[in-house]
Symmetry: C2
């Protein structure tokens, strides 16, 4: 009998694909979500590329295809009574925590959205910590962070900690972070909170600092021919990651929206590598009293390098793609040193799926199949005005 895994934020772009992936491998899986992101989408008038049935409907479809149960809990992580009841009832060995509002532009709209992001994200993580401490301190917590927590320091980005030397003395201390939005800040704040829980209570925590993810399909989503198990693929300026947006823009025939000079470098990964990384973390839990930080990306590209790759792949499909530079809404360096380490997950056995032309071509093809769903009014920058 494999372990029980509870996935918080199970409705999201990564939550549901992770649930299917682990279920397919024989884990006993439960998902939890309060559909808060769907509510924000309604408020902003945003829709994903492919409509996702609710969690119970998808669990039923999955059961029909595989015979496997995925248990569904609908409610708010921050509500102690609810979360504690779920943890007591399901008795997870591992909790994967995707349950946070993940948008930098949304967090920068105004006072209310900045506070909504911070309050929601910290309240959720704090509740999970107390639930684990109170009910079963042995539960392994895997929390998704972001590479954006580090910003772009002028030294190599290490994995969570660094050995610091000063006048002949040494200590291994948390790597300094320079988040660039209230969203990224909230991820720094909850990492600090979890590390405190590890020091005080001996929790076992893995913090996965993930780069921007791209991709639409996974092995499991392909099992349903009606596309009802696809992830929430976003291409709007609030929730769409840069490559997913470029692919969609190429298909619609809009010049790729490059913010500023496009020299910004980040570490990227394919959604199927997210699943692989999270699976590796589940299979190799952190020790008791260990705060294990792993940087989760496979390749570093600048925004301009990404746009070139999309252009090249699109050309082979007969699509002529141009780019357009927009004033950068973000306060970020557009030319900078960037070298981030990512050996921890490779040491655990990660086998990267790199961003080949074939991968981009497949993404273009799926988006083309769903072209009728693309809403041009939510693609162009302008509404996600940063304060």
């Amino acid at each position: 009998m494999k372990d029980k895994v509870l996935i918080l934020g199970g409705d999201g772009y990564l939550g549901w694909p992770t649930a299917m992936n682990l279920s397919n491998l024989g884990y006993s899986v439960a998902v939890l979500d309060n559909y808060f992101k769907r509510w924000i989408f309604n408020k902003l008038g945003i829709t994903p590329l492919i409509d996702c049935p609710n969690l119970q409907e998808r669990a039923n479809i999955w059961k029909g295809l595989t015979g496997n149960d995925i248990k569904v809990y609908v409610g708010d992580i921050g509500e102690q009574d609810f979360l504690f009841k779920v943890v007591k009832e399901f008795e997870p060995d591992t909790i994967i925590h995707y349950g946070e509002i993940p948008s930098a532009p949304y967090s920068m709209l105004n006072h209310n959205t900045s506070w909504e992001t911070i309050q929601n994200n910290l309240g959720a993580t704090l509740a999970v910590m107390w639930a684990i401490k109170t009910i079963n301190p042995d539960i392994h917590l895997i929390k998704l962070g972001t590479m954006g927590e580090y910003g772009t320091p002028n030294i190599d980005i290490e994995e969570g900690f660094m050995e610091i030397e000063q006048s002949g003395r040494k200590d291994r201390l948390p790597f300094p972070k320079l988040p660039g939005s209230f969203y990224h800040l909230s991820k720094v704040q909850d990492s600090d909170m979890l590390y405190l829980g590890v020091r005080m209570w001996g929790l076992r925590v893995t913090d996965l600092n993930q780069g921007p993810v791209y991709g639409i399909e996974t092995a499991e989503s392909r099992m349903d021919k009606e596309n009802r198990l696809m992830p929430h693929f976003h291409y709007d300026e609030f929730w769409g990651t840069v490559l997913n947006r470029f692919i969609t823009q190429a298909v619609v025939g809009i010049p790729l929206t490059v913010y500023g000079k496009g020299g910004q470098k980040r570490g990227f990964l394919n959604i199927i590598d997210t699943l692989q990384c999270v699976r590796l973390a589940v299979q190799n839990p952190a020790n008791k009293g260990e705060f294990r930080v792993m940087n989760q990306f496979t390749e570093i590209f600048s925004v301009n390098e990404l746009s070139e790759k999309v252009k090249a792949a699109a050309k082979n499909l007969g699509i002529d793609v141009t780019t357009k530079n927009y004033p950068n809404p973000r306060k970020e360096a557009e030319e900078h040193y960037y070298n981030a380490k990512n050996t921890n997950l490779l040491s655990l056995g990660l086998q990267p799926n790199y961003l080949t032309e074939k991968v981009i071509t497949e993404m273009l093809e799926i988006v083309m199949e769903n072209k009728k769903n693309i809403r041009q009014d939510i693609i162009l920058p302008g509404r996600a005005k940063w304060q």
Copy 2:
């Protein structure tokens, strides 16, 4: 005409003394408080050594003594409408932000108090940032942090930032922090938030990382012979700082409550030096786009060194003091390296008032005068149970 200073948390141990001090120097002063700490005191059944009239009553007494107005606003910093109205109406040049729940033990009681602390402290600071950005980005914000944010690393504690060298590359980055409670964590989190505001919006912010404060009287509190302008002096296990507790215990004849081995070292300062430091920060504002961090303490002592000093001073007054070691409720190193820098405030002109026997003797004498108010049931450790 001197500057206008708005003091958030004006009801507290440091808020009210700061208000009188600046008012006496000719500043136009307003205080703001929602009496949240008094409400927590009611819930916990705690009282201060000397009863403090409410802010309006104290402002009236102060007006009678000096002819100076101190404007009083009662309300919640986190309520945008209220805070924005105050900032628009009073038009401060400087905001001094003491308006946070400051108790480590309280924050560690349970899930609710940990969240209350984090939510209150971050919500308040975020609202202040938005108010300044929106109404007048030129306002100088002085926020009180704590030396407890740093923990006890095995290297010297620098003032907020450090030059980090790694394989031949260099950057000046935030000094890594290791808070030891949810309260201290909230102070790390709000420092990170303010530094983000500085980077994004060009705010001007001074972050004063203060050590435990001791002391009862200030020059201004002495002006009222009926003791109605004294600070909220606390000696209970939730809010009392270590020296204030030891003084009170000596007067009552209880063995000094040393947690663990008593080897814990911290940087301390007299309440009159807090006033001096904050005044220096007001007089020498941070530049626009500067996040200026200053470590605010004058001397480093271990808990055992403090208890020895209290014993010696008490002996001269004919009081025989003993100590008793209690199991340490905190997860903290009891023998550790500790060397923190504090040159920034000295460079601005701070002239320290050190912890002499005379200072301790005066504190003992004032507490003796108010001995009838001391409640033995709130002195001994036991209720502030750390999770």
